[in-house]
Amino acid sequence: MAAEKLSTRHLLGIKDITLNDIELIFETADNFKGVINRTIKKVPSLRDITIANIFFENSTRTKLSFELAEKRLSADVINFAASSSSVSKGETLIDTVNNILAMKVDMVVMRHPYAGAGVFLSKHINAQIVNAGDGAHEHPTQALLDAYSIREKLGEVRGKKVVIVGDILHSRVAISNILCLQKLGAEVMVCGPTTLIPKHIGSLGVKVEHDLIKALNWCDVANMLRIQLERQDIKYFPSLREYAMMYGLNKQILDNLDKEIIVMHPGPINRGVEITSDVADSKQSIILDQVENGVAIRMAVLYLLASQRD
């Protein structure tokens, strides 16, 4: 049994939370998974809470998932997308958020293109902050739901071998996943072209491999990341076609491995680049379980944070 309270007031990154926090979030998510599979999928826990979803960057899954989690907990929700707001008129982050808070908001779920935006905000405003992705820094709820999905599929995370394949350099999912899986006792390897692996990634205690087949033969779980073309300001590899040939996962590779591995993808998928359609839709893929678990994990995080009284 994990502790009964989170050690933190905000969820800014996996780096700041303890193993106990992660276990508490998982145990609570188990309960919420039961809730969202009932006929009536709603509980009244957060009915006195207002949550603002502030997205300075595009998102489909994370935004919908957070919004659904908030509504399933009966919170009041307001949504804000930077593209259709006064941010384009030159308003600063603190001004934007303070204006939203003046409307009496208790929690802020924020995605921002710059690393550290969540930490910065938590120091200047009173509301509780949940980081929904800040630049190439962290995406804690994604890491939690990935680890939770592995735990659900394999029974436990401790001792499992997980390889993260693809664009590690631009990926907040990779960083958060590495930290989260290591806290839970898994072994982590990163795999990708040299240009997309940060130079000092080894200092996080992960293995580095440039050969996809070797990496896949080593692991129990392969997390295939998206190639983030929108963040790549220079050419990191000659062409998408070449990347797909070297690092793309197809059914033939999967079937020729010595063992059956689990395939994950945080979405959105570039079908035919990181993984082919037949892999994405195969029995070994738990991509849609990840999405379902995302709602339960986010409900658990919001519920546990809300229970921390000021």
Partner: protein, 182 residues
């Protein structure tokens, strides 16, 4: 700390047997009635009631589930402490059934209020009844009264009723604890 025993030994057994016979009077063979224990402590009591009913009726198919009310409580964010939930195990349909809610101690009635809310998430029962082992009279915060009562006690807010079970604590016993300084 002063202790007074409210129920133990033979009297405890007789009370459980009496409650079961009262249930049988109203629910016959339990074909359309389910037992729901409120987590965590009410589920031990519900297990005992089910076991006793099965012996009396020679019927092993009485349905029993556990209901967790954590997310439906009205003191969330108003009280320090418990936020972690227990599991719900209701693997049958309660729509149209008679439900007997079971808890060990009825005090303010707030738990039962939350349980009624939580129960509705599983469907619309035909009728809901309440069975409690100990009824702390005259201390209700909401208008809720039990249908079946093991034992009634008049108590102060500063006192505490503690129920122990053979399966978990090694002994069937109910005691009333009072702090002499209060």
């Amino acid at each position: 700390m002063q202790k007074r025993t409210l129920l133990d030994g033979k009297k405890f057994q007789i009370t459980i047997k009496r409650l079961c016979h009262q249930l049988i009077e109203n629910h016959n063979d339990f074909s359309n009635t389910v037992l729901i224990g409120i987590q965590p402590r009410g589920s031990y009591f519900a297990d005992r009631i089910k076991q006793e009913l099965s012996e009396i009726l020679k019927n092993k198919t009485i349905r029993k589930g556990n209901l967790d009310i954590t997310f439906f409580r009205d003191d969330f964010r108003r009280k320090d402490g418990i936020v972690s939930a227990n599991s719900n195990t209701i693997d049958f349909i309660i729509e149209g059934c008679n439900v007997v809610l079971i808890d060990d101690v009825l005090w303010t009635g707030r738990t039962i209020r939350a349980a009624l809310d939580a129960l509705l998430a599983f469907g619309r029962p035909a009728k809901v009844e309440l069975l409690v082992l100990i009824d702390r009279r005259f201390s209700r915060h909401v208008p809720i009264e039990p249908d079946y009562i093991g034992h009634q006690v008049d108590s102060l807010d500063s006192q505490m009723v503690k129920v122990s079970w053979k399966e978990t604590e090694g002994e069937d016993k109910v005691i009333l604890l009072s702090d002499r300084n209060k």
